[in-house]
Assembly symmetry: D2
Homo-oligomer: 409 residues x 4
Amino acid sequence: MKKAKKILNDPVYGFVSIPDGLIFELIEHPYYQRLRRIKQLSLTHYVYPGALHTRFHHAIGAFHLMTQAIEILRSKGTDITDEEAEAVSIAILLHDIGHGPFSHTLENTLIQVHHEDLSLAFMEKINQDLDGKLELAIQIFKDEHPKKFLYQLVSGQLDMDRMDYLNRDSFFTGVHEGVIGYHRIIKMLAVSNDELVVEEKGIYSIEKFLVARRLMYWQVYLHKAVLSAERMLVLALLRAKALCRMGKNPKCPSRHLEYFLLNGHLLDANQPISDEMLEHFAHLDDFDIISALKTWMDEEDEVLRFISKGLINRRLFKLELSPKPFDRHYVENIRQKIEKWGQFSAADLPFLITEGKESNNAYSTSKDEIKIKFKSGEVMPMSEVVDHGIQFQLVTKYYLGYPKELVSL
Amino acid sequence: MKKAKKILNDPVYGFVSIPDGLIFELIEHPYYQRLRRIKQLSLTHYVYPGALHTRFHHAIGAFHLMTQAIEILRSKGTDITDEEAEAVSIAILLHDIGHGPFSHTLENTLIQVHHEDLSLAFMEKINQDLDGKLELAIQIFKDEHPKKFLYQLVSGQLDMDRMDYLNRDSFFTGVHEGVIGYHRIIKMLAVSNDELVVEEKGIYSIEKFLVARRLMYWQVYLHKAVLSAERMLVLALLRAKALCRMGKNPKCPSRHLEYFLLNGHLLDANQPISDEMLEHFAHLDDFDIISALKTWMDEEDEVLRFISKGLINRRLFKLELSPKPFDRHYVENIRQKIEKWGQFSAADLPFLITEGKESNNAYSTSKDEIKIKFKSGEVMPMSEVVDHGIQFQLVTKYYLGYPKELVSL
Amino acid sequence: MKKAKKILNDPVYGFVSIPDGLIFELIEHPYYQRLRRIKQLSLTHYVYPGALHTRFHHAIGAFHLMTQAIEILRSKGTDITDEEAEAVSIAILLHDIGHGPFSHTLENTLIQVHHEDLSLAFMEKINQDLDGKLELAIQIFKDEHPKKFLYQLVSGQLDMDRMDYLNRDSFFTGVHEGVIGYHRIIKMLAVSNDELVVEEKGIYSIEKFLVARRLMYWQVYLHKAVLSAERMLVLALLRAKALCRMGKNPKCPSRHLEYFLLNGHLLDANQPISDEMLEHFAHLDDFDIISALKTWMDEEDEVLRFISKGLINRRLFKLELSPKPFDRHYVENIRQKIEKWGQFSAADLPFLITEGKESNNAYSTSKDEIKIKFKSGEVMPMSEVVDHGIQFQLVTKYYLGYPKELVSL
Amino acid sequence: MKKAKKILNDPVYGFVSIPDGLIFELIEHPYYQRLRRIKQLSLTHYVYPGALHTRFHHAIGAFHLMTQAIEILRSKGTDITDEEAEAVSIAILLHDIGHGPFSHTLENTLIQVHHEDLSLAFMEKINQDLDGKLELAIQIFKDEHPKKFLYQLVSGQLDMDRMDYLNRDSFFTGVHEGVIGYHRIIKMLAVSNDELVVEEKGIYSIEKFLVARRLMYWQVYLHKAVLSAERMLVLALLRAKALCRMGKNPKCPSRHLEYFLLNGHLLDANQPISDEMLEHFAHLDDFDIISALKTWMDEEDEVLRFISKGLINRRLFKLELSPKPFDRHYVENIRQKIEKWGQFSAADLPFLITEGKESNNAYSTSKDEIKIKFKSGEVMPMSEVVDHGIQFQLVTKYYLGYPKELVSL
């Protein structure tokens, strides 16, 4: 039992120990502290008011589970050196450090870079500052380490990321049905041929984990009102960028956010991440966005003002869901209604109607499958286990959102 | 809010209110108090030491959930008279009153009558004593009431019995993965055409409920060591009855148990339930069986002594599980081993080897299906809902148990 | 069971029902929605990372408990009309609507008005808009209603405010020891002579409640690092106001916050609340403050920059606690150290050292005492109950905070 | 992390690991398995139906906490050898092995020996069988080991016994207010001068622990109806012994219980524990007593039949509580009522009226005090800590119980 530098109270797990040294130093780093200001679930708290937890808390939780997973695997004879243990812990701790404001919601809206690439950029920046202390962690994070299971613990079907977020999200939303038997699943992990596998006895826990995840998708992450709020947020930012392109820059209380609004043409072009970009990104969080929305409640542009007021005062777009694409006539009819409404012009329509689809498959056999290890030592993909008794299908839902004022017009 | 006669602390639900009047009177009845001495999960506590909860507690829990279900259904406009509400509450309260010692384990071992028929017999007996006050409850229990949903609340795919036992069993075993969102499921219940249905939004909770139930089957109810202990218990009783048939009556500390051991030939013949039988059955509980086993630790018959000692000191049979029937040669080999062991004769073998199979289908579309009600009012069997995305298969496991001493022979 | 307009998932209580009508309308009001952006526990999350819950959530929780309390009291025969029930529910729902950014921390720093007076001002404003619909709620809130127990449910030793915040704060901090038996306490409430009393059997729950509250004070609310962060926040705002007074206005991203910084001389003078003030206050929340701090990380003034950076990057002042006042020589020594440090001038010292004291008495007999009602009907102040067996004393702690850089100088 | 032989699901703590070797062997021993048949809280389940947990489960829980305490103390530098760790674990595992049926209730009724002396006798018996492997455990159990803190972990103000039973009892009764912060308390334990102490920061948790214990005493352990049932149980056994003394031996289904009923004159005489006694005691459990009561429902003696029926059918004596001794006239009046009732003779009165008193002091300064260790290293008894702010007093309650039939006479 290594002496803990700090013990945190986590309502999800109880006491969480942070060891002294590099791990503690990384948590203290301003890059990591920024995650305190980025909510894990974006605007989900508009429906589930307890869901205010942050990426900061999530990553520490995932780190905590990693510590347990390492201990379990070692107790089963898997060789993990102290350096590897620290490196894989760092990889999970920093896996989300590249998330921007409102996590996934604004991904690709402010900058055309995937958050994992930004995480990597931040890790490399810190690695430079710390004379290469993160080398091994980066190797694992990029799946370049020969012990593939280390990467799978960070990013895979049963990684510590998912294990924590399902737990944490169900805890803070109060959707207890999302709770998973993480404790048991981790106890059932093993390594076979350098790959992560699950012992036979854990198969029912895995099923429950998959079903819980599916439930969280449709009941929480893709809840109608959550989707509505998040789509409105995207529209607000897109509108602000559009105004900038037209030279009608809206007032922006944060110079870092302003950078992204003004340089949209560059940032969307999928260029390499520059130091300048990264520096600004390192100062961006939920507070910049919400403060901008609050400022935009007084903005001259009617569309931006309308959406910003709606978001701040929680007057959300009406959002419809359908198992098949919306009929074009139906959508056209809504467009016409908005025009007739008289508040906005035809040119504003792309910022007042939101359409798209979301899909979720609780378990896919096409990707890297979960492997089950039998007492005999045999390893088998989960979909081939005879008495598995449960099968999943891909579910897709189409959405269509528009100002709820239209309903009564 | 009707004034409660009594408020019970239930670790599962918090406070449970027992209303004054008939319900309270029934709980005070010796027939109902007997359930305090019948464990819900038989010998499961040999594996999950917390699983000592009783049929008494379970039935009160199911009653508690029934109270909530009635309130919800009424708030949605379903007409349930006060008489019906009380009757369906009584039906669920007494649904297990016919369970004998060790619940399902010894069903058909002591007497060839299903516990539900015994429950009915007890209800009719009480009904006589109370001048017909249970008439309506009995009608519902027998599914003879025109409002079919009342029966479905007592016995159906989503009845309050299952709702409580899954919760309670997962709580007391500590297998948290068995926890179900009963609160949400009950909130989603509705009635359509006098049938119980679930509102569309509840579909993910139903899925989780089915998966949780499946998990509880294989992880708890049919756990190897549980099955072993329960099969041993059956063997002990069968042996005692066999000895009685041979005139070698073993000592029996309870005259009520003795009645069932001595009259095996009659009771197995599937006769109608006599008053005498019922009277003796009303005095039978786990304590009679355990005391008999303790007495039989000194019994002359070697087989009965061996099994009784094994059960009391928790020296259980080795039990093997297999997805397909056991090879006859394999079984024959075990028989020979026992004979060679020299402790027992060939004639004892049927009491020293136990074979059989157990099946479970998380959800079957052949029986009465769960019905989903859409916002449009349409009602559809769950298996036909397009975006349901999950399918279950029947799983069967074969078991073979024998004295663990054989392993090292 | 009145049909609910909305059902919220509360991780603390499960499902919370919001009835249709006025209550729902008030929750939708922008004044109330603002509470979504004001954390219940200010910067406590710097120590307990889960403590991100808001005044919005707290007030809905307190409303939920009020619904239960009304139901219990009515079931015991206390006469509460439907109008009174709604009014007392509104009073608790809006009791914190006057809280400003960071709740208690900045009370008296931005404006010299107690949050309860601001709550009243907001309630009166809404009352005007709604043609007097809040009249009765306001009467209760001001303790001008003859049924004094209604006021006591909103504000008293056992009010629903405390009942919720202790529960909620202990839930989200993960300090499970703060959990109270609110369910049982509420069940034990009764009314005697128009005053709220507790039935005899509830006395042990009350004790636990008082001890839990005491524990929360010292372990959470007045935790060293929490106190440090909150004192730094006060210093930052005081510095910003001081700079404004000197005409060196720091950049301020929010025009509403700016109003309070620039008009400090007026607002501190304890004038009546003007419409202008209220209007600006209605737009102020945690986001304005955090965004200002982020902006001030680039501020010219070194003191403001230093504190702002410290707060954003969580580099907190060292804070010492002592049961007696700090020795003047000791404090003088620290002042000199800061001067010698060379970063700041002597004039800056008041913004770099923070001193004060905090007191807490788990239960005081000098204020309105908790009354115990015996089965005989007799009512007695808790301190006079013979077998009470527990006594509390006032505890005071002195604190002294300063830049942690000094420690190694 | 030593490889676990077995992992148990404990609803209270989650997974509990049982190490391979001696500990596992002891748990498998029939002496220890007997504890499966002794309920921790005797007849408390007559009021709190979930309280069916056993001494078996409690002792394993206490063992689990001991494992944690050892790990914590070692991490703080306290020297505990592997042998000592195992020995202190065995001492806590076996500390209750001498408990008889219904734990404390029948202590001194069946045999005049304290359960701790019987535990010691069993430990010495096992020690003989295992060639002295329990020597060190026995030394600790008898407080003869120089490292006094080892004994204090087994038996002291903050021992693992209390830590577990408070937790477990509050869990299974559903009296959540009895829940203690055992996790935090154990984390705060330290050793100073070979004595167990608590670090300063743990003082509020200790307070809560003391208040929780006090609450459990009056709300659960000494609940009126629990006390009534337990007193009736004592009366039944005393009556049975009295009948034996008069040569009117009642039927007894268990030869082991019979031994204690027939040899009352010897066993009450406080003689040394003979092998014969111990052997019979090792077969005695709750089942013998309940089976006897069930048999005695048909007993000739009216008093024994009356009490036995009352206990089995839960028709309990009326029990009154008072802060002062009952008035002699009041008691005399009850005696006369029983006589007038006509069911029983004057000679039966001692078995139909039960009188006595129960006391509890949440914290006493006269016994071995809890020691607080300050950061400075100083150690102080808790009662002398200045800002402790809480004081306890001894509370005594007198009880008087009699057949409830009298009330309506």
